[in-house]
Symmetry: C3
Subunit: 309 residues, 3 copies
């Protein structure tokens, strides 16, 4: 039995297969719409996240399966003092696979040690969110034909964003990606991660503070939110936030086949007028998240293309 | 692609067809129980309304479809500062059709401008609730054979009730209905609406303050709640509330084939002893709401009787 | 039409059949996985209980049916002042069967008097929880081959636990069970119940205060939680709680084929090191709860093995 707690639980070959299967599910959904018939996903959100929850619920339903679960912890048995281990053990009676989001780092890992069912980490605090990384990879594959071989820029808060760290690490495992890091000094990629990327994977890293300086060299522009509370004072925040906002104006110098990605929700780091530009693919990215989760569920339940012969 | 924001989005012919299809779904449910197989309804209730939510959920399931969604806004992404436009755009990735209830007037209209999916307004503040009107019309058709041609009385709070305004306006579009308005002076139908009904549709309107004066002339009696907080003082409220309560006693002078309708929930405006009278059809009315919503979902998804040839 | 409000609503023959059908559903789930196709369960939890809700939701889905409902009362129409009778009457429009949990004793009984649909009591206050009793019985049958004929010990809080009272009463109806009651003096089985068991059913009852004295004579050990707030002072609680905790050490003197049951959630009355002992069956017990509920739903909807010929 498999669990998915962090992207490293998957080999590059397995990720490539998930991306391939997910794309085939996107292109030929009817082939797969009954492969989870009779199966039940327990969708345990100890912390609310509508987007991730809907994505998994929709994925399971599009495979013909059912969903039970809760959208926040207030109605769960853990509020009666039950241990997470017991909650997870009992779940084995009610479902066939679990997706779990939890505010505490490490909770899904702990849960997997007691579980009779495969567990997918749907996000644990600021720690890991492996299906977001899979979503990013299938989106790159759909729009740029290959996962690697591109100049990938990350823009905004590169210090705290787990989404960014996880995707960079995984792309580094694939090799053959040039990373362009665009952020204010206050929000640069952590040095430890940079050293790891360089020493372990020998990646090429470019760090700049201005998007304009590099925009014409980017194949994939990954935008993130800059949160006010990361700054020491409001003045610094106000000064910086517009430098890291993507506008139609700034896009003028970008490659015609560049793509703009964002894990969503967006607040104001991408202007609404960018949405109509064909390079903006963040809503398609959300869509691809459903299909790669369909592939993942199939893999973990060993059904459809993953059925054991 | 179609949206249903207000009853005026539908022609009289379309309403007639929805009512016909809904009645056929009521009479022959098995014919339709797989026509939404594989489809997903996103049921987005930014404001709680169990009854409306259950009615849509049940309608989708009785067509063989699935439902994702939330019952109140607390767990939705909008609580993270996301715009309604983005929430709706992302929904396109997760579902095939949206029903949306929102406390703010105009929210569903706004949402429809950004949506890749058909949107049904499940109620926006005191503004519009078009599927309640469809529910009322299919109920009239079921019990009185035709939608128009009747003496229809509305009793209670005619000033604020969106349900009443919407049904009156739609019946006026059908023509050939005599309206009898029963309310205290404080809660009469707004003059602007009255003028519109007379000038635009030439309807016949009778206004009275006492149910007893007109009960023997009514074919359809539509009851509504009188809310205490609409009155300036408690004394007026207490004096009036019993005049607008339907009792078994008052029913004695009514036609034997009159029907009593109510959008529910009822508080105390219809005595419990009225429930056993065969003229009381408000629970059947709730039931018909499921079937007309089944017809509506089919129309908007272009499946079953609405499939494109 | 049938309701299940308390275990006494079922004859011994009916209980035996439910247990048999449930076991067959456990052994041959594929035979039954479409018998509720197109049916809808309304899962109305006016009080949260994830475990019971999931068990029913899973049961309905494993029969091929659908589920609508709420997990707590805050979003239900009763918060708008609607009577429970009206809420239940309207439910007839949306579903085919109801499971209802309510904090007020007697609420499901009241609801059943107004319902067009079969109602299953999913727990009403400290009163009744008949599907827990069915869960206990099917577990005994699975692991001990017969429901009766055993030495059954109940340990912990025997004064307040409705689960214990209900199971003892039902086993007494079956006859041929020896009851061993292990509890502190403060938490003994109520005298009235003891008298009833002896006078009406002639049962054999042994009362002790120490588990060690009887452990080698037990076939089925039913553990329950001891709640701190049941004691007059903390000192008494601390002194007692370890006496009624099951440990690996205490299990050494137990029969090799004894089984340990618990309605869950457990807090600390069973040591975690007991979980690996093959006599610990409380997680299997939770699992059997799904299957006996599947049997019950089938019986009440008259489908599958309960279809009318």
């Amino acid at each position: 039995m498999r669990h998915l707690i962090e992207p490293e639980d998957l080999t590059i070959d397995e990720i490539n297969r998930l991306v391939e299967v997910g794309l085939d599910m996107y292109n030929n959904p009817k082939v797969y719409n009954k492969i989870c018939d009779g199966k039940i996903l327990a969708s345990l959100f100890f912390e609310p996240s509508t987007r991730t929850k809907f994505s998994f619920d929709s994925a399971m339903m599009r495979l013909g399966g059912n969903v039970i679960g809760f959208a926040d912890a207030s109605t769960s048995s853990t509020s009666k003092g039950e241990s997470l281990a017991d909650t997870i053990k009992v779940m084995g009676a009610y479902a066939d696979i679990i997706v779990m989001r939890h505010p505490k780092e490490g909770a899904p890992k702990l849960a997997s040690q007691y579980s009779r069912l495969p567990i997918i980490n749907g996000g644990d605090g600021g720690h890991q969110h492996p299906t977001q990384t899979l979503t990013d990879l299938i989106t790159i594959k759909r729009f740029k034909e290959t996962v690697n071989g591109h100049n990938v820029a990350f823009c905004g808060d590169l210090k705290y964003g787990r989404t960014v760290h996880s995707l960079i690490r995984t792309l580094a495992r694939f090799g053959n990606t040039k990373f362009i890091l665009i952020s204010p000094d206050e929000l640069k990629l952590p040095s430890a991660l940079k050293r790891q990327l360089i020493n372990q994977y020998g990646v090429e890293l470019v760090e700049v503070t201005s998007m304009e300086d590099v925009i014409d060299d980017i194949d994939i522009l990954y935008m993130t939110r800059i949160q006010k509370e990361r700054f020491f004072n409001e003045e610094d925040y106000l000064k910086l936030k517009n430098s890291y906002k993507l506008t139609r104006e700034k896009l003028k110098n970008a490659k015609p086949d560049m793509i703009v990605m964002h894990p969503l929700p967006r607040v104001n780091e991408i202007g609404y007028d960018v949405d109509d530009d064909k390079r903006a693919v963040y809503f398609e990215q959300a869509e691809m998240g459903v299909y790669v989760r369909m592939a993942l569920i199939s893999m973990m339940l060993e059904v459809g293309p993953y059925a054991r012969s």
